[in-house]
């Protein structure tokens, strides 16, 4: 036990300051800061892999490491879409995942935000659209912010999340 404690003490706190939000990532028109009124600083995220090569997942995982320490920003990854304010979706959307993605989206309570992660989530990437791929995420569910990159770095993903929440206009979507 003392070895564990000594290691914790020796390493200390390594968390770094978060990046500034980046307006250039916004794709869904003028949004307001309503999420802050509704949710304060707490944001629950559900990550969905809709067909990614798993590269983007590696970088989403990195957000939980002590250097990015996403929980210190009041952001948490949750296990169910029913608990989530925001969906982080990687793509391209495989046709075999289309129903599961739509159902997960529908299970997320309004108001909700959606971020498409990675080149494939943004455009379909190298896989494009085919018999097996629906292409970009916005071909299947509405997307608020798109974060390109292959894979995007944790900073870029964090920046996209902050962009989405800092001025989000979370009106319940007409379904």
């Amino acid at each position: 036990m003392w070895k564990t404690l000594r290691q914790i003490g020796r390493i200390g706190i390594v968390t770094e300051p978060p990046p500034a939000s980046d307006e250039t990532l916004r794709i869904a028109g003028a949004l307001q800061s309503r999420i802050l009124e509704v949710l304060g600083r707490a944001l629950y995220i559900r990550a969905i892999d809709a067909g990614s090569c798993n590269g983007c997942e590696l970088e989403i995982h990195a957000l939980n490491n002590p250097l990015y320490n996403i929980e210190s920003l009041g952001i948490r990854f949750v296990a169910s879409p029913r608990h989530a304010d925001l969906l982080l979706i990687t793509g391209p959307v495989a046709r075999n995942m289309e129903v599961a993605l739509r159902r997960t989206y529908d299970a997320t309570p309004d108001p909700k935000l959606v971020i498409a992660i990675g080149d494939c989530g943004c455009t379909g990437g190298i896989f494009g659209e085919s018999y097996a791929s629906c292409g970009r995420v916005s071909n299947v569910v509405p997307v608020d912010v798109a974060v390109p990159g292959c894979p995007p770095s944790p900073h870029q993903i964090l920046s996209g999340i902050l962009t989405a929440i800092s001025k989000a206009n979370l009106k319940p979507r007409a379904s």
């Binding site: 289309e98 896989f127 097996a132």
Partner: protein, 519 residues
């Protein structure tokens, strides 16, 4: 002996008859066989410790359908081709259990059926009709107007108190999608049946639309965590077909990248496996080390994940001496830190309690089911391409093979720890001995009809890729194969008699690829 006969015949068969040495990976031969020989060869391979690497369908030079199987045995690799003369071809599931899903995938994508009894679809769900074979038919049928979910006939388990737990495809974490159907009594798992294919995104057909010179980019994205393994396998096949000489420096830089990929994944897994055993400290510590490694990799080679580092003819960027020094420092510091953390993992009673005896795959079962790669080495399957069939520069690096026989989570963790130590040793060697010269040389496009294979020991296991050149510099056929194909079915056995809450831990200790399998 029976096995050697096949290799001798392959060596003698002329190229015009579909035989001879195959370009790319070392010690590989090709042999065209007839229907009866297809089964005979499988039987001989199975009885002489041969292993099935991959099975896929293609077309020969005349455009006729063939099914191919790649085996690895003592003399090397043998790729058998069976021209289809009948409505079906003989199944080999009775000798190689892993062939079941590969044969079903061939039926889905190319429409060639076996004589084996399991005819359920595998990669095809409901997104395209049964009559459409994406690797054969050019025109894509319209997708259903409303996406539907099909009914998959899982094998039912009946009895007093037995119930089913369906899990997925969307899982409760940041992981890839797949479906697990547990049949349980109380907490104990009686049976697990997997259903995969959810992230099938048409990779093999997409390869056919790409020029040879950019196929490595798609190969790198077959499974993002194995980008270097797949792009190297692709380039190895293509360079062999083109008769290109890889500059020594390029080969050494590729090995550096491959070991970086191995180290990054092992660090990530060691943290995540600790976390799944309730030891959050492990995740915090190992994910910190992994982040430091990724940043060092970005400073030295320009990328955190080396998606497009391996390119045909060499590597995309060179390594400066300052970059090499930075990387060396980072690797030395990680080596020391991992030593400390290994002692903590080894001495922690709670962690040991969860690791030891969980998800056991005995060496006998592993051999029977063809468990491969890292998980195989934790169950007595002492195979590592870097040692057994080394490509440059591994012959010079003399990597040590790690083998355990316990076959439980603890063994898979121990193999990772050993391989972290060995990888850091290899990288230090590479960084100190890196040959001078070019990191890239021009490469010509292989002639139409050329066949090559690539075979690289990725962090998860042997990564296999078969490549065929078309006319005008395009890819005629490319079949990438992740070792997850062999290992996914074994998890169904590893979980038997364990409790449901141990599944995430056991599954993570294998950490198989969904994308690399679903293609």
């Amino acid at each position: 002996m029976a096995l050697q006969r096949w290799f001798d015949r392959a060596a003698q068969q002329s190229e015009s008859n579909g035989g001879g040495v195959i370009a790319g990976a070392p010690k590989a031969w090709s042999l065209t066989v007839v229907r009866d020989e297809w089964r005979q060869a499988a039987e001989h391979m199975a009885s002489h410790d041969g292993r099935l690497l991959s099975l896929w369908a293609s077309r020969d030079d005349k455009g006729d359908e063939v099914v191919r199987a790649a085996y690895i045995a003592n003399p090397g690799v043998l790729v058998l081709s069976l021209p289809l003369t009948d409505v079906d071809y003989p199944g080999i599931e009775q000798w190689f259990a892993a062939a079941n899903r590969m044969q079903r995938a061939v039926a889905d994508l190319s429409g060639l059926r076996t004589t084996d009894s399991d005819t359920r679809p595998w990669l095809r769900h409901a997104a395209w009709p049964e009559s459409f074979h994406p690797l054969i038919h050019v025109n894509t049928p319209p997708s259903p107007p409303v996406p539907v979910i099909d009914h998959y006939p899982f094998v039912p388990v009946e009895g007093d108190g037995v119930h089913e737990i369906p899990v997925g495809p969307v899982h409760a974490g940041i992981i890839e999608p797949g479906h697990f159907r547990f049949s349980v009594v109380g907490e104990k798992v009686l049976r697990l049946e997997e259903r995969l294919g959810y992230v099938h995104k048409g990779i093999e057909r997409r390869f056919g639309e790409l020029p040879m010179l950019s196929g490595h980019r798609l190969a790198a994205r077959v499974s993002g965590d194995s980008a270097v393994s797949f792009s190297w396998a692709y380039c190895q096949a293509m360079e062999g077909m083109a008769g290109a000489n890889l500059p020594a420096r390029a080969a050494w830089l590729r090995a550096l990248a491959l070991e970086l990929e191995r180290l990054a994944n092992h660090l990530g897994d060691l943290g995540a496996i600790g976390n799944d055993a309730g030891f959050a400290f492990g995740l915090a510590q190992f994910s910190r080390l992994k982040e430091e490694l990724l940043r060092a990799s970005e400073r030295a080679l320009g990328q955190r994940y080396l998606m497009d580092f391996v390119v045909p003819g060499g590597t995309r960027t060179d390594l400066s001496s300052a970059g090499a020094r930075g990387l060396l420092e980072c690797i030395e510091s990680i080596e020391a830190e991992v030593d400390t953390l290994r002692t903590i993992y080894d001495e922690h009673a709670g962690v040991r309690d969860r690791f030891v005896g969980a998800g056991v795959v005995t060496p006998a079962l592993a051999a029977k089911l063809g468990l491969t790669g890292l998980a195989g080495r934790a169950s007595g399957q002492a195979f590592d391409l870097r040692c057994d069939l080394p490509c440059d520069p591994y012959g010079d690096l003399t990597p040590k093979k790690t083998v355990r026989t316990e076959g439980d989570v603890a063994a898979r963790v121990a193999v990772r720890f050993d391989e972290v130590a060995e990888s850091t040793r290899l990288m230090q060697q590479i960084l100190r001995r890196l040959p001078a010269g070019l990191h890239h040389a021009a490469i010509s496009v292989p002639d139409e009809g050329a066949l090559g294979i690539g075979m690289i020991e990725g962090w998860r296991g042997p990564t296999f890729l078969a490549l065929e050149a078309g006319g005008g510099g395009v890819i005629r056929r490319c079949h990438p194969h992740d070792p997850s194909w062999q290992n996914w079915p074994v998890i169904e056995h590893a979980i038997i008699d364990n409790i449901v809450p141990d599944f995430p831990l056991i599954n993570k200790s294998f950490n198989l690829s969904y994308s690399g399998h679903d293609l």
